[in-house]
Structures are given as structure tokens and as C-alpha cells.
Symmetry: C2
Subunit: 301 residues, 2 copies
């Protein structure tokens, strides 16, 4: 069963890891948001792609929730001692990916080819494709003016009020090689439980993507988690946009693209424009990740 | 007493550290070989400048003889796991300098300005100037063809027989800002005990340098160490060029530029074209480094 998952970073990567365990090797393709990518100290950093790569290679720091297992911070110590910008953490291991990617891009290798080389070197069975090889930049128009995503998220800790999301460069972008083909060949498409505005929309907005998805069987998974205060940029932005912080908002957001929205059994969604299915969406353990993945796959059959 | 020292990396840096201790802050300028600089994985690496910076900042690994104290190797572990080139060691701390420099050079900042910013951040009292802001490349014509310095030195461990040294790019190079002024204002110039062919000649060969040094009081220190087998590229190259491996060869090499050559009390130099002075040239301890520095300064007075 060939499956394509559209995903952002941390939250989405959990489901992608579950799907990787639930599907035979080679059957899964992850199409990953590149709107958060940015250049820092001359290095091209792709937070969502790298989170996918580390998670699927079993190299992520599961306790911390981001970055590498066994990471070191000597590089950052040096930056600080030299008075260089230290607002974005670059781990000693993480740097290897950034340095190799930056050098390869400078030589003219497309981002999709670089990422495929890296995931192959680490024997990751899932294809990891950037949504686009072109540079996009997710910008946020806020009450403090237009901010780049990393500035909003890391430097300003999601505190500014967001008025709208602007995806700079999207009109000139194309789907990366393989993305359209993978979707066309897939038995179904999954929208991972990532931030709809910041992680999934920047994939859906790439020219040709909406047409490619038309007719596909698409299951979305809500990023709204049950039974706990729902913090972070998704909740902040739902509030900023005047929406309720619940899966009804997610269902209405994905009405045009998804056939089904998976929400937690504890959540009731009234008046959804699309079918609601229930499965536990908390993915703390690997078993929970695989169980949610298998629930999604059943909905695609 | 204003002093300029022309130097390569490890061997020369020991004397420069001694000079830094022997002179009042601000009186010493190190003009450093850039012929070994190269671009590796997209990063601009300047081995001699960095050895000077680390040594003078008290951050060098004195046991190992190269690189940083407290260095880590997570970055290199990652490179290896990804199948990337690992023949040149880039430490986790060392990377900070390379990344910051590469980013600054890409923004158009001259190498001399970058290095001045770094040494100032670490409160190094000695001015560290690259001999030139332009790219030079020390190439070796050998029995295996033309090799870049790092290939000869690191990858091929000085095994190929050297026929001659070629400094690519030197004709278009200029002395870095401040070099000519520092030499003109100096009470004396010291040639550090670095490899004459690979470290000092690439400084002397920069257009205008010979004229700038004419009339200056120049004391050279031999790189030939007494009472031990003298290995490494200097001895290898003296042999390859058909010279004896002794300070007489050094004296003849520097006959046009230096007034005095300092050699160890254990060594007798017959038929030198320039004056020979004696001082212990082994610099294991800081005391020995300062003692040799003071001997050089006395010769300049």
C-alpha cells in the first residue's frame, strides 16, 4: 500500500515514524514543509526535514523533543565566547547535516537530492522529499510587523499576535522532483498532525499541489491533543485568527483537501464539513505512534 | 619596542607566544602565512591563522600540538556515519571559527577584518594579520604531480618527493591592510622558526613584501632543532632539494632577507652568509618560549 504523508516537524514526525513501522520498506514517502528553512551563519538549516531525518533514523532526542540524541554543544560555547549570535541552537552533531547540505547546495545539487543521499546513508527506508527544491519563506504578519518564522518561533517565542501567514517565494516554486509522481502513485495521502497554518499549508500552497491532490483519498490527523492544555503556535494562531481551539477548526480548515479528519475519541466535533473518525492521537510511545498510523491506513483502505 | 613576526603555524606560534609575553600589549604584530588556507566542505579553513589565534588566546591543545583544548569530535563522527570526507579533522569547537569566517567572507568582509574581530573577542593583545586578504594556494610539484599543501601534508603525510613549491595566485595578491604599515613602523622583524619553504616564503613572495622589508632589521630563527632526529616536512624538503638538513641551509636560504640567524648553542654553522647568533631554540615550556623571544629582542636592539 503506497502512502504519501505531508508533514511538518516534531508533531508530524511522530506519526511518520509510526507509518514507517506500519508499512513495508519503500511504501512510504514523506513530503516535508520547507517554509521554515532559513540561512543562519551562512548555513542552510531545514528544521522540518532534519527532524524527519533524525526521527526516522532513530537519532532524535526523544526526551527533549527536538534535535539529536547524544548531542554536544561545544560549537555553541565557542559562538558565545566570540560574541556571535546564539539565539538558534546548532548542535555539534546537527552541524554535520547543515555543513554538508550547504556545501552541496552551493555546488548546485538540489535539496531533494541532498536529502535523499543523507537518508540513504543512514538506511532510512522512508523517502524524505522536500515539498520544493526552491526557497520558500514562511513569514508572519504580526502586531510587531512581518517576522520570519524562526524569529517568531524561537527568538520571540510565539508571543507576537499573528494576523496572517505569507509564504514568500511560493508563486515561483515547483513541487520537488518525485512529489507529484509519489502522490499520483499513492493509494492514499495523510496530512500529519502538524501546524495547519505553518507546516501543512506551505506544502499545499505550492503551485500544482492542489491539482495533484484532487481525487486522492486524503486522511488528515488533528494536531489538537485531548485532555491537556493545548499550547504552542497552533493554539496561539487559532486564537489569533478568531477560531476555537479544537478539531472543528481543523476540519473546516481542511474541508477542501481532506476526506476524513482523525480526532481523539475524547473529542466531539459538531458540524464538521468532512467525515470525522476517532482514534487516540496522543503519540508518546512507539506503540501509540504505530497504532495511530494503522488507524489512518485502515481509513485509507 | 614595536616588533613584527612573520610566521607559519605550530612551530612559529610557540615563538610568537613567547614574544607576546615578552613585549607590552600592542607592541607585537604577527603576519601569518595564508598559503595553506583551503576550502573544505564549503568552509574556509586557515590552519596557520587559527593556530596563532588559539595559541595566543591560551586555547590550543598543547599536548596534541595542534587544534583546540577541550575539543570534541561529534561533528566528525557524524561525517563518518554519513560517508562524507573525513581526512581533515574539524573539531566541534574549531568549527565555530570556520563557520563564522566563511559567513563573513561570503558577506564581503576581508579576512584581515574577520581575524581582527575574532582575536579582539578573545582579548588577544597581539595583532594577528593574514599576510594577504587574497587567496593564495601553496602547491607542491612532486613525483606524484602537483598537490595542494593539505593533500601533501595531511592526506599523503609528506611522502611524495617535492621538486618545487608553487604559490598559485601570488602575483595578484597584495599585502593585507596594516602589514606594510606595521613593518614600516617596527623596530625589528622576526622570521619565526617555521618551514622556510612552506610557511615563510609564501609571506615573503607577496608583491611588495621584499621592498617593504628592505632596510628593516631582520632576525630569523632556525626551525632546525638540536639533539633530536629532525623530521617533518622541513627536513623532508631540505633533503628533496639536495640540501643538508642543518641551519647552514636555513642561513643560505634567508641570506637576502635576514641579518642574523639564531641557532641552538649545540649547532655550529660554517660559512654562513649572515651573522649567526646562539640561543636555545627548543621551546617546550613557556619559560623556554619567552627566553628565546627575549634573545631575539636583544638581537633587534
Amino acid at each position: 500500500m503506497k502512502v504519501v504523508v505531508l508533514t511538518g516537524g516534531v508533531g508530524g514526525a511522530k506519526l511518520v515514524l509510526g507509518l514507517q513501522h506500519a508499512l513495508p520498506p519503500g511504501d512510504l514517502t514523506a513530503v516535508v514543509n520547507v517554509g521554515d528553512d532559513f540561512t543562519h551563519l551562512g548555513l542552510r538549516v531545514c528544521p522540518d526535514l532534519d527532524t524527519l531525518l533524525y526521527t526516522l533514523a532513530g537519532k532524535s532526542n526523544t526526551e527533549q523533543g527536538w534535535g539529536r540524541a547524544g548531542e554536544g554543544w561545544r560549537f555553541m560555547e565557542e559562538l558565545r565566547s566570540l560574541g556571535a549570535p546564539d539565539w538558534f541552537n546548532l548542535g555539534d552533531r546537527d552541524l554535520a547535516i547543515h555543513v554538508l547540505r550547504t556545501a552541496a547546495l552551493a555546488q548546485g545539487e538540489p535539496l531533494s537530492a541532498v536529502m535523499d543521499r543523507l537518508r540513504t546513508a543512514w538506511a532510512v527506508p522512508t523517502r524524505i522529499l522536500p515539498a520544493s527544491d526552491q526557497h520558500l519563506a514562511t513569514m508572519l504578519d504580526t502586531d510587531e510587523g512581518r517576522l520570519a518564522f524562526q524569529t517568531y518561533f524561537v527568538a520571540r517565542r510565539c508571543e507576537p499576535q499573528v494576523e496572517r501567514v505569507v509564504l514568500e517565494g511560493v508563486d515561483a516554486a515547483q513541487m520537488a522532483p518525485g512529489v507529484g509522481e509519489a502522490i499520483a502513485a499513492a493509494d492514499g495521502v495523510i496530512l500529519a498532525p502538524s501546524n495547519p497554518y505553518l507546516s501543512v499549508d506551505p506544502i499545499l500552497a505550492i503551485p500544482g499541489m492542489a491539482e495533484t491532490l484532487r481525487g486522492a483519498h486524503v486522511v488528515a490527523v488533528t494536531p489538537v491533543l485531548p485532555g491537556r492544555s493545548f499550547k504552542g503556535p497552533t493554539a496561539r494562531m487559532m486564537t489569533d485568527f478568531g477560531h476555537a481551539v479544537d478539531s472543528g477548526t481543523v476540519a473546516r480548515h481542511y474541508a477542501e483537501v481532506a476526506n476524513i479528519l482523525v480526532v481523539d475519541p475524547d473529542e466531539t466535533v459538531a458540524g464538521s464539513p468532512i467525515r470525522i473518525a476517532h482514534a487516540p492521537v496522543t503519540m508518546n510511545s512507539l506503540d501509540e505512534k504505530v497504532a495511530l498510523a494503522e488507524a489512518c491506513l485502515r481509513l485509507l483502505q
